[in-house]
């Protein structure tokens, strides 16, 4: 069920106009009764730049995060979990009071942030908002979570040096990130002294070069049949 939903979202993303996969996914999220969406990049654990934005309020909320150094995007990244603030007009918003009041002035009534993380690898945050306050429906929450997971993979693949076309192909092939991939990422980080995202990218590029699946290479790393610190 989720797999088919994931591919349905991906198919929609393909036909959504945009300059990159990230931009298309961002624009697509507006379909879920939203007025703005942005993907912020993460640097050192907090939002550090704007990857892309869509809708009338997308750029605004992203800029507020960066300008004030606080907001649901910051909170989502530090929690490594989503922040669902559905009552911006009446809620306290203790964690980001300045952001909240600035956002209200721009007619934002509800804002939702999904961290783009794989364990301790955080590549960014998907932040969406709308003028009308209120909870997301279960369907929209599900679809936005799938979208965030696609955006996480897309950003990781692009950081690994893949272009739009190859990123899309890999996303379509499904190539699930399994437990063994997380373990292998930690092992490779130790072998190479690289960061975790770079270690994952290295495993990914090894898989592509040798025409193997990500899971297969990860298993060989975990069972110590291949090492990444020796050519």
């Amino acid at each position: 069920m989720e797999t088919s939903r994931r591919s349905a979202i991906l198919q929609k993303a393909v036909v959504t106009p945009g300059t990159s996969i990230a931009h298309r996914l961002c624009t697509l999220s507006l379909d879920f009764a939203l007025d703005g969406a942005a993907i912020l990049l993460a640097g050192a654990g907090s939002p550090s730049g704007i990857a892309t934005s869509s809708g009338s309020l997308g750029q605004d909320i992203a800029e507020l995060e960066l300008k004030f150094g606080e907001g649901p995007g910051h909170q989502a990244l530090s929690n490594r979990g989503p922040v669902l603030a559905d009552q911006l007009l009446t809620g306290a918003c203790e964690e980001w009071p300045v952001f909240a009041s600035e956002a209200r002035e721009r007619t934002v009534g509800a804002i939702f942030a999904f961290p783009l993380c794989l364990g301790s690898i955080c590549v960014g945050v998907l932040e969406v908002c709308r003028c009308v306050p209120g909870k997301l429906t279960v369907t929209h929450l599900t679809d936005l979570s799938l979208l965030a997971s696609l955006a996480t993979s897309a950003l990781l693949l692009m950081q690994a040096g893949l272009d739009d076309r190859d990123t899309l192909d890999l996303l379509e092939s499904g190539d699930p990130v399994q437990i063994r991939v997380h373990q292998a990422t930690g092992m490779v980080a130790q072998q190479t002294s690289l960061s975790l995202p770079d270690s994952l990218a290295l495993i990914r590029s090894y898989a592509l070069t040798h025409e193997l699946s990500l899971g297969n290479v990860a298993e060989q790393v975990v069972t110590r049949r291949i090492r990444m610190d020796r050519p």
Partner: protein, 249 residues
């Protein structure tokens, strides 16, 4: 002597497990810690051979958040159930699912082959129930056939209820939003722990089980959450040598 009396001398009772879990919940509480201690209790109480806790994310996919056995193969038995298996059926239906002999059970072809290959014969999945919906399942496996009786069913459901309570203990009853945030955070925490296991396993030339045990023992000894220890490992703030040294002191 009844079976229960014989057990009392060596293993914790269900009551003491409940009390311990409740105590943990009112203190500085972390779900990953509770889940990992619940799986060890489940092994003892149910005389089981493998136990896993799975929860479903906001995208409706099942994730392993704790397992009694941390090697790759066992974890994957739980992991593949995001496609099929007693856990998935249990989570969908909200009913407790059992199989007393997997070798002759014709449900879940691919799951069944994998677990039978690993030597398991009986399986049980109890739903993590929360008011009107299910948030995951507790999965129990035994190496012997016919391991499941009324007693196992009741105890497994009690442990599953305890896990569900733990996941929601910090949320206001009406706040589904908070739960969604909490669940996603927990799933991500588990991924961090896997990455840290990999880093330690490589650093200390040990297997994933040993890497996990070291992190767990070190966390207990220093009264730290497992997730915090995992993050320090990944941040290269603490090494295998330092963790070992602090445990032998």
């Amino acid at each position: 002597m009844t079976r229960d009396n014989a057990r009392d001398d060596h293993t914790p009772s269900l009551a003491s497990t409940v009390i311990e879990a409740m105590e943990a919940m009112v203190q500085d509480f972390d779900f990953v810690d509770l889940a990992s201690s619940l799986v060890s209790s489940a092994i003892d109480l149910l005389e089981a051979d493998a136990v896993g806790v799975m929860i479903s994310d906001t995208a409706q996919l099942l994730h392993v958040v704790a397992a009694s056995d941390e090697d790759m193969r066992t974890l994957e038995v739980f992991e593949i159930q995001s496609d099929e298996g007693p856990c998935l059926d249990c989570w969908y239906s909200g009913r407790l699912i059992t199989s007393s002999d997997l070798t002759i059970d014709d449900r879940w072809t691919s799951f069944r082959h994998r677990v039978v290959d690993l030597g398991f014969r009986s399986a049980l999945a109890a739903p993590l129930r929360l008011r009107d919906h299910n948030i995951g399942a507790l999965n129990v496996l035994w190496r012997r056939a016919d391991a499941i009786d009324e007693r196992e069913i009741q105890a497994a459901q009690a442990l599953a209820d305890l896990a569900a309570l733990g996941l929601t203990s910090r949320s206001v009853p009406s706040e589904a939003t908070f739960l969604a945030e909490q669940i996603q955070k927990t799933i991500n925490a588990r991924v961090t722990i896997e990455q840290a296991k990999g880093m330690l396993a490589e650093q200390g030339s040990m297997d994933m089980n040993a890497a996990y045990s070291l992190m767990r023992d070190y966390s207990r000894a220093s009264a730290a959450h497992l997730l915090d220890t995992a993050e320090r490992v990944l941040g290269r703030e603490i090494t295998v040598q330092e963790m070992r040294a602090s445990l032998t002191r």
